[in-house]
Symmetry: C2
Subunit: 108 residues, 2 copies
């Protein structure tokens, strides 16, 4: 994973922080990759950054054109199935924040 | 590191994504911990989540009450010294996004 090449603000970020149980890790990795591939095809997708450490704590930040794009992805049927599984099996704790990016800068 | 216990939105997130060079790692870890301790004392600080993987890719998300709190931290003298060092020694690439959290939910 590397830094997402997003356009000029404004755009939206969905910051997903989670503590993984480490149960069924292989299935998680497979579903996780599938969800990223699926999100990339969803309208308004701009990029994704994701990192998890050896203790199972992770942050995934997904960038979207606007709130409407987030809503479309939120209602994606396959995504919802995996979300339910994530909440019952993979995530001990999780927290999701929807935020409007107003400013950005860096060296990429 | 674990999920930050932030208040109800609105509040701000500073999402810092970076690719670490792995140069002078020990100094980095020391300065990084020092910066977190210093940020915690800065007015308007709400919480921090940080994760870096074995390849040196990391995301740190810091939460602040408002834009003014971010500005105060941005102008902190000691923070600025370490920032310069980070940009010249530790970060191959980095990108920073300032975003207004409009909505959040989860299980923590």
């Amino acid at each position: 994973m590397s830094i997402a090449n997003t356009p000029k603000p404004p755009y939206y970020a969905v910051i997903f922080s989670s503590q993984h149980t480490k149960n069924k890790w292989e299935e998680y990795e497979e579903k996780s990759a599938k969800m990223v591939a699926l999100a990339k095809e969803s309208p308004g997708f701009l990029g994704v950054e994701s990192v998890r450490d050896e203790n199972g704590f992770g942050i995934t930040s997904v960038y979207w054109e606007d709130k409407e794009s987030i809503d479309i992805w939120r209602h994606n049927e396959e995504h919802n199935k995996v979300k339910k599984r994530g909440r019952s099996i993979w995530y001990e704790k999780y927290f999701l924040r929807i935020a409007k990016v107003e400013k950005d800068y860096g060296k990429i």
